[in-house]
């Protein structure tokens, strides 16, 4: 086995990879966080990154590629300092998501037609560089239209507010999200997704941050006030599964 990939990533990353693998009964389960770890180092999943995962997990590179190419959260070209995800799913789109996305493309000087899933403005990794993607549902329809920066929410946006947000990001500022902890850049967010919270305090600030919105809980509140409950599930038989089937 070649260890070229390990050289790219260094001993610290190898150690962290081992830590991730140790979290699971089967090493293969560690692939998703491993790919995030690779992104936190390189800012994207490079072929070396795939080889690194394959070597650490004793998988073939094709098996890693299958997973890495399936999920849009794994980026195939180097990303900017921040990742801006604009929801363009039905509700957000209707509420202005498409307009926000168009505005940001224009503002970032990206062409009319999107090539691939995301595009980067500025020199990847440099301060103020931004990767813009259009995202599928971000699970905040009640706050539509939303966008995320490094996976943190900015609720009820308008093309103007989004443009201003982007200006501030490019200027090197870190505007506070609508909820949740503050922005720390794409690679730091990837590190957290890999399961590494550098320091106890940081972990608490992430977990304890206010991530709920009033709008999100409104339905549950009304249901509680009226005593509404979901109907019992019908007892639908489930087909037998063969013993020991893999």
């Amino acid at each position: 086995m070649t260890h070229a990939a390990q050289e790219t990533f260094g001993e610290e990353t190898v150690r962290e990879a081992a830590e991730i693998i140790a979290r699971y009964p089967q090493s293969r389960s560690a692939l998703l966080p491993m790919l995030h770890l690779v992104q936190s180092v390189q800012g994207f999943v490079s072929p070396e990154g795939m080889r690194f995962c394959a070597e650490q997990l004793e998988l073939s590179e094709a098996e890693v590629a299958a997973v890495a190419t399936f999920y849009t959260m794994y980026k195939r070209s180097p990303c900017g300092q921040h990742l801006v995800s604009v929801c363009t799913n039905t509700l957000c789109a209707a509420m202005g998501g498409d307009a926000i996305y168009a505005k940001l493309r224009e503002k970032l000087g990206l062409g009319e037609r999107l090539e691939g899933n995301e595009e980067t403005a500025g020199e990847p990794g440099e301060p103020g560089s931004l990767t813009l993607e259009h995202a599928e549902c971000l699970a905040a329809c009640d706050l539509a239209p939303v966008l995320q920066v490094d996976y943190e929410y900015f609720d009820k946006q308008t093309p103007e507010s989004a443009a201003e947000l982007v200006d501030r990001l490019r200027a090197g500022e870190a505007p506070a999200p609508s909820r949740g902890p503050g922005l720390r850049g794409f690679r730091s967010a990837e590190r957290q997704l890999a399961g590494f919270f550098d320091g106890e305090a940081a972990l608490e600030s992430v977990v304890d941050g206010s991530s709920q919105a009033v709008e999100t809980l409104r339905g549950a509140q009304i249901a509680a006030e009226h005593g509404w409950v979901a109907p019992e599930a019908e007892d639908v038989p489930i087909p037998e599964v063969e013993e020991g089937a893999k």
Binding site: A68, T69, P239
Partner: protein, 828 residues
């Protein structure tokens, strides 16, 4: 009413369930998939992804049926290929259910949306499940009006396997075959949604990471052709067959693979006297539905330019074409002369059918009055001859180890055998046994080969040449393996066991002591048959010993002779030594390459010195240069015959390509014998086999009980050394320089990389790292190859026996377990 009904119903046997399919009551084994039960009942359900030997995937959705359980219909149509049957289940297929029919039509319409419908230019057209089922179950006209998705076509999955992605229906048969059956998960489903496609790490690079230099693991597998064969559409094609032919232009003949001792069933498709392709045949007892890439693609040697089609005779030092009459007369006269002046040795080679081997055995005894015959064109020993006589001769699938028996074994110990390289069908069974039945596979070898990993195996690494000690040490150092061998264990031995003194006797002893079953798996297709046919110096046909007076008399009587030669013959090495010394005056050779023999230099000397050399050959070879008469013989596809596979199972096959005018060895020898005033009665393979059958077999000699280790000479070699010396491990790879793989460039490009393997410590000892050139040398020559670090014992280097520049016997004059010099290469 109820009671009457109950009494008239057939009782459901243990482990079975009763269900209804299309109104028909069926009793079937519990746990079976709906699609299998329906199939057995003759109810056809269309499918693409389903394959009986692969795990269910329910990927293509073409087999949707309506299912009722406990009197209630499941809310949606269900995939018949992934739902197991249960008691009281009611299934409605498309034959009776409008819901199922509509669902299937819908799936077909969706599958065809992006399919190019390019059947007229597609290789699969005419034998395509998608084409057939679209015509049967699909719409006549597509309702899709938009532009179809297109891809660059084709992409190279490997040098042999090409992929036209727009034809793919994403059934994942290829990926599942590679991951499950072959254990080579280098091909995968990439991307998502409308972009979903099959590819490798290499194609993923090229497609998604456009800015990055393409790299990544290619699809390297010895079994890649099976993925092509089971592709239910025209997405996967082989570089060898693409655009070459149409299925309806081909004539198909069932055949048996000539490449290794497994005897896999094949189908040979030919057109106008030329083989166009080979496909895996179906034989659950032997190869199931799989063959290796060598068996599938290596057949163009038959049509090589250097094929000999007319007899050649040497005149004034040069070979010229001659008539059969002239060539046979010269051969007969000169052989008789050589026989009477000093004797003639016969080396038939290891690739013959039983019939042809029998003809050589009979020719040696009757026409040449000698027992100097040995089919072993490879390193061999007297110990091996004893071992074959007492442990292998006469075993059959009824009383010996079989392919299916491997699946029932709790432990299989491979000794000096690299199953994936030497007998791929055995490797596939071992992997299946380990995967499905939990069989423990233990390999006594030198490093963790891919086969060790893919059989979930354990490696007991030893110094090459010290396998005997490793086996002797099992009881003490691997007590668990030793104990398991006694509880339904199997031991498999490879051809290089003959190179290790004492190994065969020791393993035979181990088998007797533990009660484990024992099988010998030679590399070549004809060796097992030649053993039974008596192409050996100490054995007559049917397992009769030359030193047994009664047996000799019996054979003599059957052959209409007064007596047979009494003296035990010389083995191959002794024959060559005698010829080189001028003691033997003539040699008759079948398909033998001097460089395969234990001492190629000696072999060439023998050929040069012998007064008269007759070569029965397909093509011009190294032997041709020395031959006085060359008689052309038929290749496997041009003749009928029987291979005896390693199980001792007869694998008869009929002639595929007729009227070539080329004769099989047994016919040529029969005619030559007639010229020498002797009769072999082997005019045709049928006649030869009938003659052999009339002779019958005798009970094989009973092996002496007890734990005997009989090796002569110096005893096991000393441990590895310093001062630039190392012990050599070497064996043949499946795809290498073998002459039966000639003319097949795409296949050759899928061979494994030619490297020298050594441990980290050994590499450091000579100051090299991975990829650096290393020189392995002896007094005779040198081989320089890039280093690959592997888990070999220190002081050991491994070279492929006959791959690229690594021609171990020819260049170095040594073999497995011998000493070689090792140093850093380059810079000279």
């Amino acid at each position: 009413m109820t009671t009457v009904e109950e009494t008239t119903q057939t009782p459901v046997p243990e482990g079975h369930v009763r269900l209804t399919i299309d109104g028909r009551e069926v009793i079937a084994p519990k746990g079976e998939l709906i699609i299998r039960t329906a199939e057995r009942e003759g109810i056809e359900i269309p499918r693409f992804c389903d394959h009986p030997l692969l795990d269910p995937a329910a990927a293509c959705r073409q087999c949707l049926v309506e299912v009722e359980m406990n009197g209630r219909a499941m809310p949606k149509p269900q995939p018949a290929c992934a739902i197991t049957i249960s008691d009281g289940m009611v299934v409605h297929t498309q034959h009776g259910s409008e819901v199922a029919r509509k669902a299937q039509e819908g799936v077909m319409e969706l599958l065809l949306i992006n399919h190019p419908l390019d059947c007229p230019i597609c290789d699969k057209g005419g034998e395509c499940p998608l084409q057939n089922q679209a015509l049967r179950h699909g719409r006549a006209e597509s309702r899709f009006r938009d532009q179809k998705r297109t891809f660059t076509k084709p992409i190279e999955v490997s040098k042999q396997v090409l992929l036209d992605r727009e034809r793919c229906v994403l059934c994942q048969r290829c990926t599942r075959f590679s991951a499950e059956i072959a254990g080579d998960p280098f091909i995968e489903l990439l991307e998502r949604g409308a972009h979903q496609q099959i590819g490798t790490a290499k194609t993923a690079d090229a497609e998604g990471w456009g800015a990055v230099t393409p790299q990544g693991q290619p699809y390297q597998s010895y079994f890649s052709g099976n993925a092509i064969q089971i592709c239910p559409v025209g997405a996967l094609t082989s570089a060898a067959y693409r655009f070459r032919s149409r299925p309806f232009d081909l004539v198909s003949a069932p055949s048996v693979c000539e490449h290794c001792s497994s005897g896999c069933a094949e189908r040979t498709d030919f057109r106008r006297g030329k083989v166009m392709r080979k496909l895996a045949g179906e034989d659950p007892e032997v190869n199931e539905e799989w063959i290796c890439d060598k068996g599938r693609f290596a057949f163009r040697y038959v049509t090589a330019d250097d094929r000999i089609t007319r007899p050649l005779v040497r005149e004034n030092g040069k070979l010229r074409e001659a008539s059969w009459t002239e060539a046979l007369r010269i051969a007969a006269d000169r052989l008789a002369e050589a026989r009477d002046n000093g004797g003639v040795g016969v080396l038939p080679g290891g690739r013959l059918t039983v019939e042809d081997a029998y003809a050589y055995a009979k020719f040696a005894r009757i026409s040449l009055h000698t027992n100097d015959i040995d089919f072993r064109a490879r390193p061999h020993s007297a110990e091996e001859l004893d071992f074959l006589t007492t442990n292998v001769l006469g075993t059959t699938p009824e009383d010996g180890v079989t392919f299916t028996g491997l699946e029932r074994a709790n432990t299989v110990l491979c000794v000096a055998l690299e199953p994936e390289e030497e007998a791929p069908a055995v490797f596939l069974r071992l992997r299946k046994a380990a995967r499905k039945a939990g069989t423990k596979v233990v390999h006594i070898g030198q490093f963790s080969t891919p086969a060790v990993d893919k059989t979930f195996g354990t490696l007991l690494a030893c110094i090459p040449g010290e396998e005997t000690n490793a086996v002797l040490g099992l009881r003490e150092h691997a007590a668990d393996v030793y104990a398991q061998l006694g509880e339904g264990g199997v031991i498999l031995l490879g051809e290089r066991a003959a190179e290790v003194p004492g190994l065969l006797s020791t393993v035979a002893g181990l088998a007797r002591e533990t009660g484990a079953q024992l099988a010998w798996i030679p590399r070549r297709a004809g060796e097992r048959g030649a053993l039974e046919a008596g192409a050996l110096p100490t054995l007559l046909p049917g397992g009769r010993r030359v030193d047994d007076t009664e047996a000799r008399a019996e054979v003599a009587a059957a052959w209409g002779l007064e007596a047979l030669p009494e003296l035990a013959g010389k083995d191959a090495s002794a024959i060559l030594t005698a010829a080189a010394n001028g003691k033997l005056h003539g040699l008759v050779l079948g398909g033998v390459d001097p460089d395969d023999l234990p001492n190629p230099e000696l072999a060439r000397e023998a050929l040069a010195r012998a007064e008269f050399v007759v070569s029965l050959e397909l093509r011009r070879t190294a032997v041709t240069e020395y031959a006085d008469v060359v008689l052309p013989v038929a290749a496997a596809v041009e003749k009928s015959g029987t291979y005896l596979n390693w199980e001792g199972r007869p694998r008869p096959f009929d002639i595929a390509i007729e009227n070539t005018g080329i004769l099989s060895d047994c016919r040529v020898l029969d005619t030559l014998a007639v010229e020498m005033d002797t009769d072999l009665f082997t005019q045709t393979p049928q006649a030869a086999l009938a003659d052999l059958d009339r002779l019958g077999t005798v009970e094989p000699p009973v092996a002496q009980p007890g734990w005997t280790i009989e090796f002569e000479g110096e005893g096991p070699p000393k441990s590895p050394l310093r001062h630039g010396k190392a012990r050599l491990a070497t064996w043949h790879r499946l795809l290498d320089n073998g002459s039966l793989q000639d003319n097949e460039p795409h296949l050759a490009q899928t061979a494994r990389e030619t490297v020298v393997k050594l441990s980290t410590a050994t590499a450091q000892g000579i100051g090299v790292g991975a990829g650096d050139p290393v020189v392995v040398s002896t007094h005779q020559g040198r081989i320089e190859l890039p280093a690959e670090i592997a888990d070999l014992p220190d002081g050991v280097v491994w070279l492929p026996a006959n791959s690229g520049p690594s021609t171990v016997r020819a260049s170095l004059g040594v073999g497995h377990g011998d000493l070689v010099d090792v140093r850093a290469g380059g810079g000279e």
